[in-house]
Structure formats: C-alpha cells, structure tokens
Symmetry: D2
Subunit: 146 residues, 4 copies
C-alpha cells in the first residue's frame, strides 16, 4: 500500500503483541483491574507499534499528534493483580486522517479475550485541527500490511 492510494477495504497490519504486568495501581477494591486502565494498556501497545520516538518527534518537529476519537470496549472477564496480560493489536488506515485499531487483552492461558476494543485515532495539529498524516509516516506504518 502506498501513501497516495489508500485502499477502500481495510488492509490490516500484522498482529502485534505486547505484555503488560498488572500492579497494585491497576486494581480497585473489587479485586480486579479498574476498567479505564484497559484503555491505558491499549494506548501503550499502540505507542509500541508506532514507536514512542516517532510520536515524540512528530509532536516536537511537525506539531502533529494522534488523538483518540472513539473507543468501543467490551469487558468479558476480570483481570487480576499479578497477571501478565497479552495485548494484541491490529490496525488499518481508514483515510489519511484516521486509523482504526482492533485490540484485545488476553489473560495467561486464556482461550478467549478478557477485553476487546475498536479504537479510532485521528491525526491532529497542536490547535486540535484534523491534519493528514505525513506520507512518510503512512509508508512506515504500512510495512507488512496484507
């Protein structure tokens, strides 16, 4: 896929995997992970897919960043203290402005995901106006797409 001919049907990225260990800070008094924290793990995983240095330079040098536009998350199962969960991530470009991410959280030895989510991200400048992703970034992120 090239930056100039975005597909009309989604071409998914490879599936990326990222481990998160559950600490005291992640739980609440009900004994399991406090649900907004799942959005944090999804974001950490996305930052690893894109690259924290790339995000840092994009912001500092081009005044561009990614903002979450929509998150649709389903919590199927509780996640517990001391779990090391597997965050699985795939994404596709919906337009030059928008990426869509399919992410899920798996407990150790689980046969189904504990949490699943679809998250839409848009590219914005520092005035929070929609901005196209730089072609070089699209090319870079397109590596390995089906």
């Amino acid at each position: 896929m090239s930056a100039t001919t975005l597909p009309t049907t989604p071409h998914y990225s490879p599936e990326y995997r990222f481990n998160v260990q559950i600490y005291y800070e992640d739980t609440d008094f009900s004994g399991v992970v406090y649900h907004p924290n799942f959005l944090k793990y999804f974001e950490r995983a996305r930052e690893h897919v894109i690259g924290a240095e790339i995000l840092h330079n994009l912001w500092q040098q081009q005044q561009l960043g990614f903002a979450v536009y929509r998150t649709d998350m389903v919590c199927h199962d509780g996640v517990e203290f001391a779990d090391i969960v597997d965050v699985r991530t795939q994404f596709y470009f919906e337009s030059k402005f928008r990426t869509v991410w399919k992410q899920s959280i798996w407990r150790p030895n689980a046969t189904k995901a504990a949490v699943t989510a679809t998250i839409e991200m848009v590219c914005m400048n520092q005035k929070r106006q929609l901005a196209p992703m730089p072609p070089s970034l699209i090319t870079q992120l397109s590596a390995g797409m089906a």
Copy 2:
C-alpha cells in the same frame, strides 16, 4: 416502574448533573485531558446517582457490585486544565441484571457535548458471576423514571 415488571422499551431516569474540575492529574503533555480519564468522570457521576453509601453497603453486606460490561465513547472536543465540566447522566434498566447509561461531558458554555458515551453495567457477585439487582435497589433507582 416496579422491580417485577421491567419495561421492554427504555424508561429513562431523569437527567442528573455532576461537576468535575480538571486538575493537573487529568491532562497529558498534549495539553488536554487524557482520554481514559473521561471514563473516570462518568463513573464518579454514576456513583453519585446510585449513592456511594449504597454501593458500599451493597458490596459489604450483599457481596454485590456493578461491573462495566461495555463502554462506547466518542471524543468530539478536547477538555482543558482548569475547566469545570458538566457531566450529564441518564440511565434505564435493560433487565434485572443490566443498566444502560447515556452520559456526556460538557465544557463551560458549550453548545454541544465534548464527549458522549453509552455505558452498560451488569450486577455481579464477588465471584464475578451475574446476579440480579436486589428489588429494593431497583425500586430505589427507579424513582422519577418516565
């Protein structure tokens, strides 16, 4: 509405309002509220609708709690440090096990919501098994429903 005859079409609660002030802790380096925090504000608002004491006693005395099953959130606009936002909340009973919450976050003097969400909550026991809400709780929460 009584606990024994749950409606098949939603009967919404009155709209509740709750203020949240945005502190340092709520923002990230992009200058606006970090998106998972919106889920925190929605939960605070729900706790005020239900009553923190009621939630506390439900957990301690009946070993029951509410777990978030699904959150579908759209972020239309950034929210800034020092804002005092208005969190608006309505809900209905979908079954004896489940409530559905329509919530939104409004910046001062805004003409449209900065964030909107639909959040589904299920009642669970401390083994995280679905459990019906106690009839007395349903009656209590049904006060003022259309």
Copy 3:
C-alpha cells in the same frame, strides 16, 4: 508581608479545607486508597488555594508554573471507598522561589489525621529553570497570613 521583604521565620497562611470523595478509581485491591493518590488530593487542594484560573493564566501568559520539589508523606491510617475526606492545607513562603505546604487528610469524624505531608513547591519557567514568583502572585497568596 510584602513581596520584597520575605520573612525569615515562617508566616503561615490560614488553614484551608477541601473535601475529596473517594471513588472506585482511588482504591486498590487491598481495599483502601492507593497511596500515590494522596499526592493527587494534596495537589487538588493546593490548586484550590492558589486558584486554577490563576495557575492557568500564569502558565499561558507568563510561562510559569509550580513544580513539586519534595514530598514527605506519612500514612497513618487507611482511607476507604465512599469516604469523604477533609484535606487541610497551610503554607508559607520560604523564598521568592519556594513555598512549603503542610497538608493532612482527615477521615470523617477522625480525631487524628490519616495522612500528613510536607510538600515543597518551586516556581519554574517552561524550560524548567527556577524563576521567582511574580510579586503580584506573592501579594495575592499572602492574603490573611499571620
């Protein structure tokens, strides 16, 4: 006290009081408030003493902010879900650059504080260099000092 003649012995501000309600987000699986959150409550209380709007304008218009230099906190007692705690705050100017805050957290009907802290704040510019507080700010914050 004037901005130009800072005292060598501390002149304390009046004691300010600020309520914080403890939500799900504040606790961990041990059943009580997760300890770093106490630093959040202390900061919220300081922001109310100084004024969030004043902090906002200081940052936007004069590129100045307050950074925490040191926190020394003792946790005497656990704080629980649904508690509404009373955060008590006093401070003094140590220099044109530095304020020292004595803060404590009180559970309902408590005869002693659950948490006590001494927190030092320094004034910094956006390059994170020490900067004197503007005289007008010192005057403003000195209102009511003994």
Copy 4:
C-alpha cells in the same frame, strides 16, 4: 542474615534495576511526568524485587500485605514522554515489621538521579494491623544481602 537475628545496622540488599517507559498517561500538560506517578514506578520496582506472585499468594493465603508507611521523595529533574528510565532499588530490614527502601529514577545517560526517595513499608494483615513478616519471606528477601 536469618529471620531470628535482625541486624541493628542496615544490611542492604543488592541494587536491583528495573526499566519503566514513559507513556502519554504518565505526563501532564506541563510536558513532564506528573509527580505522584514516580511513586507508582517505585512500587512497580519493589513488586519486581519481592515478586508479584509472592505478594499475590501472601495476600490470598496468609492475608498479609505491605503498606506504605512513609515516602520521602525529592524531584531533581523532569522526566519526559518516551524516556525509558532506570529505577534503582535497594532495601534493608529495619525490624520484622518494617522494610526501608532507597530508590531512585535515572533518565537515559544521566549522571545523576532525576528522582530519589526513601520509602518505608510495613507488613499488615487484612484488618490493617501490624503483623510480622513470615520468617520464610524474610529469608527469601535476604538473599544476597551484604
């Protein structure tokens, strides 16, 4: 060192090292890490020294946990988004009830620590009463002490 003859002068553990990557969630609008988050990183590092599984079992099987009694933290330098910091940890037993931890946070290639802290932890039962650490735990944690 054995569980029955605790030393009167501190015998320090080896220095442990643990990396933490700084994400969006860690920063605030001033552009650097929000200070209470440093306490989270220190706790994560301690959990890795003790072992999350050991902490989990201690709580589930012996109803014992570690509570933070005191934290004295100095913030010398800001920590930025995308940094991978090195958290360094040493501790000693002050009594059967109490451990003292010397911890620091180092930015990449730094010649001095960005944050330093002394943190005291006490062993408690689930009623939050002081309890001695099990001898087997003390033995386990004493491995490698000078």
